[in-house]
Amino acid sequence: MAAKQSPSVVSPERQTGAGADIAALLRELVAHLRQNRTQLREEWARRITRAQLLTAMTEEEIFAEATSVYDNYVEALETGTFEALQAYARNLSERIIPRGVETHEVVGIVLLLRDVLARSLFAKYHEDFEKLNRILDAYEPAANRIANTVAVGFVQERERIIRQQQEAIRELSTPVLQVRERLLILPIIGVIDPQRARQLTEQLLRAIRTNRAKVVVIDITGVAAMDANVANHLVQTVEAARLLGATVIVTGLSPEIAQTLVTIGVDLSEMATVGDLQGGIEEAERLLGYKVVLQSELPHPATKA
């Protein structure tokens, strides 16, 4: 018998009447699950494959993960504590999220395990309906909590990854590029918050100095929304650039942004705006005295190669 393999943590509530009863039932349950470990685990892995979950993983991988999830599951049932399971769920999520495993799959496999185990309990206690009921009373709340813990762990890990990626995008997304002698472009993509606006302005001012820029085109096609704060940051950036002797042209204001800015009454009269990036660059070239001419339109015939 595999019963009482390890001393279980007994919480105070378990020591009183009904609590002690539940604890005893759970112990019996855990013993049953340990005893039938191999068979139940295989059944579970089979059902995962049949339900076409975890398609991103090979069968061996599924079986290996199923084994450790099973053991952690039984352990959580036995000890009634979820810290270890939480840590395991986080660790598991870290490994499987990059493989493209979806939330519904994770929830799906945990629910499948719950079902497989419940079925095995039906099979074992089908002659003693009274006992089956009591066992299920003890099993169901614990099983639901486990399912909950794993799902929440997975979602939290995903959110953590999303936050991390947002930060990475933020750091990468403020390039200042020189397109011609003395002409810089600054394409802004994404959300501008005060911190990013500050970083953006500092970067632009430094670039104006090092590149000796006279004209800067700030393209905000990639900015989805703008409020009064962001607009004021933009005005400040334009002013600061002017103090360094550079003219700023803002391009790519979307119809929505144009409407918002006018509605909230931001004063953009100091700002030169042009419809799109192409127009902005053409205007900048005009300011710098460049003239772009098609080769075929040159007054003197170009020498042919």
Partner: protein, 123 residues
Amino acid sequence: MEVPILKQGHFLIASIQSALTDADLSQLREALVLRVGKLRARGVIVDVTALDVMDSFAVRTLRDIAHMTRLRGAETVIVGIQPEVAFAMVQLGLTLKGVATALDLEEGLAFLDRFTKERFERA
């Protein structure tokens, strides 16, 4: 410390070398407004490259210089504002409206050349 004012062709160049007290700034303003008339200058360049702090009095004095010299027939351009100074100025709302600015001395001279050429050749 007195700011040296150099004459270069039609232009005056005031090159600030170190942090200035309010009195120095006022003195600079008076000297420039006086010299513009005396030397028949068409442009003034104030070089502030050496300044890493600019308070509201300094900014106001620079603006006053620009407006006063304009009344005396010379355009002023402020050159060499440091990026950090520009950023701080904008945040404090000190934006030198109506005053020409340029990256450095060379740019300032080029600006004044263009500006005076337009103005005096048309006349």
